[in-house]
């Protein structure tokens, strides 16, 4: 009986703690994302493969280079607890939606940062993979593209 109570207290504390810190960190991350997105407002990141499809002459290109941005985000204990319920009942795992969204936005921002002096980035792809092991899980997002500098 005592064991049960201890387990319960432990679980509730961890979940509540996860909820508080998780919400705080998420808000902070989103604010940072919003600010940095304003910095790179004018850098187009598109996924066209050929420059001719956007009316740019290939001879105008000075250099083209691979740029990448990578971000890893993990859920807090509250999020993963809710996700376990959804694993039984089914439906959308809304708790994980913000995770994946943040990771993708962060990856794109880092991509833009790496290519800050470029005119545009083409052939952009986003790869999402999950890092899940017995104890930890998370989402790793890689965004890569070709940075083009024009004359």
């Amino acid at each position: 009986m005592l064991e049960l109570i201890i387990n319960l207290i432990f679980l509730v504390t961890i979940t509540l703690f996860g909820y508080c810190t998780g919400t705080f960190l998420e808000k902070r991350h989103y604010n940072s994302i919003k600010q940095r997105e304003k910095l790179y407002y004018n850098l187009p990141v598109i996924q066209v493969k050929k420059l001719s499809s956007i009316d740019i002459d290939e001879n105008d290109v000075i250099s083209s280079e691979l740029v990448t941005g990578c971000a890893v985000v993990a859920p807090d204990s509250f999020k993963s607890f809710t996700a376990r319920f959804v694993n039984i009942l089914g439906g959308r795992v809304t708790s994980y939606e913000t995770l994946v969204d943040r990771a993708r936005k962060e990856a794109l921002l880092r991509l833009k940062k790496q290519a800050c002096s470029a005119d545009l980035i083409i052939n952009t792809r986003i790869e999402t993979s999950d890092l899940s092991s017995a104890d930890t899980n998370g989402v790793a997002v890689l965004a890569y593209g070709t940075a083009i500098i024009l004359k």
């Binding site: 049960l4 004018n42 187009p44 376990r84 319920f85 009942l89 809304t94």
Partner: protein, 268 residues
């Protein structure tokens, strides 16, 4: 083609719901699923158990358990076995064979296992002061076997573990949590079973000896020795000694059983 940047203010990839509210709604639904599975499986098990014949039960029990006889207690074991045989002759329509196994342990305890096996610790024998006391305790354990109490609780426990493993996978913390929370419900079941076994024991004692003397002696001794506050007993499987004494005395009054003084003997 010209690139025009379009600003999207709201984030389309995120849902609007309050995570806390969602957590509680989902948790409640999972609890419903779990509870209905438990009730259903428990019900199904009861139906099967009621129809399990005595021979089946004894065969399965003998298959699982292998009791080793302790040489030092062999004499006492024979004496206790004679007492049990005397009691079992007085159970109406009895088809079971009860076997006692003495265990060399200073704890004051006795247990009933499916298949008619009764375990008695040597500490209990040392604390006994009359044949009737021991007879009551043995009759109580025989009551558990006749009522199939340990089968029911074993199988309910197994059903519970199976369900929680199905629902939660190998996540140990959630499993332990839900196993434990049902445990406190099961304790009540166990206490009802104990009271019924006390009743059975009392009737068997009265039928064998012609009176109910000695039934409460042992519990009175326990109540004196144990200083645990009453509320702690809520958490334990057995009812508190005092409540058992009260229940037994109520039953004696209700049935108008006689109470005669018992002969004092000391067991090995």
């Amino acid at each position: 083609m010209k690139f025009t940047r379009v600003d999207i203010e709201e984030n389309v990839n995120i849902s609007d719901e309050n995570p806390l509210k969602e957590f509680f709604v989902l948790g409640f639904k999972v609890l419903l699923v779990f509870a209905s599975l438990y009730i259903f499986i428990g019900f199904a098990l009861e139906v099967v158990l009621v129809n399990l014949s005595v021979e089946h039960e004894e065969n399965i029990a003998n298959f699982i358990w292998d009791f080793k006889e302790e040489k030092s207690l062999a004499e006492s074991e024979k004496k206790v076995q004679k007492l049990i045989d005397k009691l079992s002759r007085n159970i109406p329509m009895n088809k079971r064979h009860f076997t006692v196994h003495l265990i060399s342990d200073d704890n004051i305890n006795a247990a009933a296992l499916p298949g008619g096996h009764i375990l008695v610790y040597s500490g209990l024998l040392k604390a006994i002061r009359s044949e009737n006391e021991l007879a009551f305790i043995l009759a109580h354990e025989m009551g558990h076997i006749v009522h199939k109490d340990s089968i029911k609780s074993l199988s309910k426990g197994m059903a519970l573990s199976a369900i929680s493993m199905f629902l939660f996978g190998n996540d140990k913390s959630l499993n332990t949590l839900f196993n434990g929370s049902i445990e406190s419900l099961q304790l009540k079941f166990s206490r009802d079973a104990e009271n019924n076994a006390d009743k059975f024991g009392l009737h068997l004692l009265n039928h064998t000896y012609g009176h109910s003397g000695g039934a409460t002696n042992f519990f009175e001794k326990l109540a004196k020795d144990n200083k645990m506050p009453t509320f702690m007993y809520y958490l334990l499987t057995h009812p508190s000694p005092q409540s058992r004494i009260n229940n037994i005395n109520d039953e004696i009054k209700f049935n108008n059983f006689d109470l005669k003084t018992v002969k004092k003997i000391i067991f090995e």
